[in-house]
């Protein structure tokens, strides 16, 4: 394995990068004196990868929820129980499926290298049978139903359905009760063999570890079969319309107060570098314009239009880019109008420059504080990795975002004639 060392001066931390001949990348981030050690084994395969071109050039379409279903089945073993094997080492194993990735991870105080070997081995070697696929359908059905009762989750996915027409981020990561019933053992194995291949995966390790022992353990745990998987199929994404799908989406649920999300999207393609800078600018802009220290927030709070649940979020990747505002309010429509007005006011009058400086300072402090938590470091690193970005360059990018650039991106990003409102409220309110 070829190993490089990178030192980040501003945060006084080091990252080691190892590249295996198979294309698998291994990252080690030593953190001295922490008790827990964490390892993440991630594949760039998530809930939006349902259509692809196979090795024979044929277009294949799989049922929604297959990546998540596969995540459940990876835990199946021909003998013994994988949870128990980790638990006996004192380790906690888990996994999660996102739009563009599936990650298997564990944390442990003791027996780290044994657990790392176990992680790599079980992900490389699934045991999927017709019988255990059928059994899993009942469990996943309960998981889907649990989310269906969660109004926060509903208002969010409804908003995504309104924002996007064809992009599969609009679909529930777990699929639907109907779609998962179509999934077969062969579907799962086909996707597994394509997407769980070395060049499509990374390992990230963080904690008080010896980097050389990590690289050796990885080397010794890779199977011939795994190293031999060379094909990563090309994924097909439908072209998304420039405009939002629906301007309004509304559903009744038993909630004590209406929940809302307002959304904006951008379907243009950017280089990774430009994407990162743009997103940073939008993040600073929305905290400055709508965050707890903004005039907008304080007026709306005092007028009873919002409570402390009001927040904004900007999400981006190679496949989507949107900004949402969410929270609870008795007057979501009035608030929506006010948010749009405020956007137009800022476009005309510009930002409060002192506020932009303060928010940049806040981002700096919060980023430094995030290094207290090994999980925060890991999730930021793995999330950004999928987007093609190195999360440890955060402060350098932040430094170079100018007020003029923030204004330019803000004006361009928010189109107040092409936005979405999603509401969940009680019937009869």
């Amino acid at each position: 394995m070829k190993i490089n060392e990178i030192y980040y001066e501003k945060i006084n931390e080091k990252l080691y990068v190892g590249e295996h001949e198979s294309g698998l990348k291994v990252y080690v981030f030593p953190k001295k004196d922490f008790s827990k050690k964490h390892a993440y084994f991630m594949t760039e395969y998530g809930s939006v990868f349902n259509s692809f071109i196979d090795e024979n050039g044929e277009i294949v379409k799989k049922p929604l929820g297959i990546a998540h279903f596969l995540e459940h089945k990876i835990f199946e073993e021909s003998e013994g129980n994988i949870f128990e094997k980790f638990a006996l080492l004192g380790a906690n194993v888990n996994a999660y499926t996102k739009f563009e990735s599936t990650t298997y991870n564990f944390s442990t105080v003791d027996n780290f290298y044994k657990a790392l070997k176990l992680l790599i081995e079980f992900v490389q070697k699934p045991y999927i049978t017709e019988e255990n696929v059928e059994k899993e359908k009942g469990i996943i059905e309960q998981e889907i139903k649990m989310y269906l009762d969660d109004p926060d989750w509903k208002v969010y996915f409804n908003a995504l359905k309104a924002i996007y027409k064809d992009n599969e981020v609009r679909e529930d990561i777990a699929g639907s009760v109907e779609s998962i019933k179509e999934i077969t053992k062969d579907d799962l194995m086909e996707c597994y063999n394509y997407f769980y291949s070395p060049a499509n995966m990374i390992i990230f390790v963080i904690g008080d570890v010896d980097k050389d022992k990590v690289f050796d353990t990885v080397n010794n745990s890779l199977s011939e079969e795994f190293i031999g998987r060379k094909i990563v199929p090309e994924v097909i994404f439908k072209e998304e319309n420039k405009n939002v799908n629906l301007k309004e989406i509304h559903e009744y649920m038993d909630v004590s107060q209406a929940k809302f999300i307002f959304g904006f999207k951008d379907t243009r393609k950017y280089s990774v570098k430009e994407l990162y800078r743009r997103s940073f600018a939008i993040k600073i802009a929305i905290v400055s314009a709508f965050g707890v220290s903004s005039s907008f927030y304080n007026n709306a709070y005092e007028n009873g239009l919002i409570d402390e649940s009001f927040s904004s979020e900007h999400s981006f990747s190679k496949y989507y880019l949107h900004t949402i505002f969410g929270g609870e309010s008795d007057y979501p429509n009035e608030l929506y109008r006010k948010v749009l007005e405020e956007i137009n006011r800022i476009k005309k009058e510009g930002f409060d420059l002192e506020s932009l400086t303060r928010i940049k300072r806040k981002f700096t402090g919060r980023y430094i504080a995030s290094f207290n938590s090994l999980q925060s470091i890991a999730s930021l690193f793995t999330d950004y990795y999928i987007k093609g970005i190195n999360s440890f360059e955060y402060l350098d990018v932040l430094e170079n975002i100018s007020p003029d650039y923030i204004k330019e991106v803000f004006d361009d990003h928010f189109d107040t004639d092409d936005s979405v409102i999603s509401i969940i409220e009680s019937e009869g309110k």
Binding site: S35, K36, M146, D254, S293, R358, R361, G365, A369
Partner: protein, 428 residues
């Protein structure tokens, strides 16, 4: 890793706990103010934590208050109130980046000034709280109380406790009730707050990489509390007789039914077999290797989540699961059966080993998070348990299967709470 701890009493019943740890990039200050959990004051305490975040005599608007936090490099300031059994504890926390990583030599001192402003110099108009702000915060708190219903998973647990402990203070939720919030006005709230500051035991914990003398000097200089006669707070009642299991069923608009079982453990945290009861709960429902998870989810596919959880101060164990309504009786039988197996001594060496490892590794990991460490530390001071994690770990290591079986035999089912889906008539 915790390098050193020092405790000083800086005023009448105000203890300062200095905790040195060099691995973090932040400093964290936590102020804990202890009250009894009472109907008459729970809502006042909750609304107070909100009022204090609205402004101070120096930062007169909420906007100025939050701008100051941004200026302190995005300092995180949290003010809330938590249930610790039948105690109600105010927690004021402030986290700032350590001065080594930013360009601000006095950030710790400025943060303590800010905390003191918030707690000891709140925004007053004519000697009392701002009426407009109070109206808004009462409204928001009422909304928060009502919104418990929105998250059915939490709501189910909340309702189980409310029914199970209907005649005990433990039924009171951390925000109190809508009726109690409505009774609050700026005068009675301010009088109550004066009393809280003067008469409650206070603990201040500071964790970071700074000299103890420096911290102590600044806290003594900048954080000034007025003191009076200090109140005594009773230990929770835990020996509650169960004559008959309470069965409660509710209908709601849900896709998935929620089942909650409430047990009395009849073991107190002071008891010698307390640690055995923790291991019992872990073997029964502590995660993906537990009996409940394996027997009900993995073998029968009857649920996605199921777990057992212990409430240390009140000696209660809750079991919660999301299931299909039609499976209710089967799941209850399976739960009872899993408990019976433990009571009959069916615990494998693997199960014992897993439970111990899981409890011990979470103890060892406490010092990885500044906030979780000071909360654990405070928890230990409340129960006067050992704060030396090493000794606690030794105690867990020494526990035998037999002791766990004995602990498991003491539990008594008190309440079964069930939320099932509403049947809609006239629908196809």
């Amino acid at each position: 890793m915790i390098n050193d701890i020092k405790i000083v009493e800086i005023n009448k019943k105000i203890r300062l706990h200095l905790i040195e740890s060099s691995k973090f990039k932040t400093d964290l200050i936590g102020i804990y103010i202890k009250r009894p959990l009472k109907e008459s004051e729970a809502s006042m305490n909750a609304v107070l934590t909100r009022m204090l975040e609205r402004g101070t005599m120096k930062y007169k608007t909420t906007k100025e208050f939050n701008e100051k936090l941004d200026d302190l490099y995005g300092a995180v300031l949290v003010s809330d109130v938590h249930k610790y059994g039948e105690k109600h504890v105010f927690q004021f926390k402030m986290q700032i980046p350590d001065k080594k990583y930013i360009d601000s030599e006095n950030i710790f001192e400025e943060s303590i000034e800010m905390l003191n402003e918030m707690i000891n110099n709140p925004l007053l108009i004519d000697g009392t709280f701002n009426e407009e702000f109070l109206k808004q915060e009462k409204r928001n708190l009422i909304q928060t109380i009502k919104s418990i219903k929105d998250d059915k998973v939490t709501y189910a647990i909340h309702k189980c406790i409310e029914n199970m402990c209907e005649n005990e203070p433990y039924r009171i939720s951390q925000n109190g009730s809508v009726d109690e919030v409505e009774k609050i006005n700026s005068e009675n709230l301010y009088q109550h707050y004066r009393k809280v500051l003067k008469t409650s035991p206070i603990d201040i914990c500071v964790i970071g990489d700074m000299e103890f003398d420096y911290i102590e000097k600044i806290i003594r200089k900048k954080l000034i509390f007025e003191r009076d006669e200090i109140i005594k707070i009773d230990r929770e009642k835990t020996d509650v007789e169960v004559n008959e299991v309470k069965l409660i069923e509710e209908e709601m608009d849900v896709t998935q039914a929620k089942l909650t079982l409430g047990y009395r453990t009849n073991i107190r945290y002071e008891d010698a077999n307390y640690e055995a009861s923790v291991l019992f709960a872990s073997i029964l429902g502590g995660g993906a290797s537990s009996k409940l998870f394996n027997e009900i989810r993995e073998e029968k596919s009857l649920c996605y989540y199921i777990y057992a959880k212990l409430e240390k101060f009140k000696s209660i164990m809750l079991i919660a699961a999301g299931i299909n309504s039609k499976d209710k009786e089967e799941v209850i039988e399976l739960i009872k059966n899993s408990i019976l197996k433990i009571q009959n001594g069916e615990i494998s060496d693997e199960e014992l080993k897993i439970a111990k490892k899981s409890v011990i590794s979470s103890l060892k990991a406490r010092s990885d998070y500044p906030n979780s460490f000071i909360n654990y530390y405070y928890d230990q001071t409340l129960t006067r348990k050992n704060i030396d994690i090493g000794k606690t770990i030794k105690k867990y290591q020494s526990i035998s299967i037999n002791e766990i079986v004995e602990a498991s035999k003491k539990i008594k089912l008190d309440t079964i709470h069930f939320i099932k889906e509403k049947v809609h008539l006239n629908e196809n």
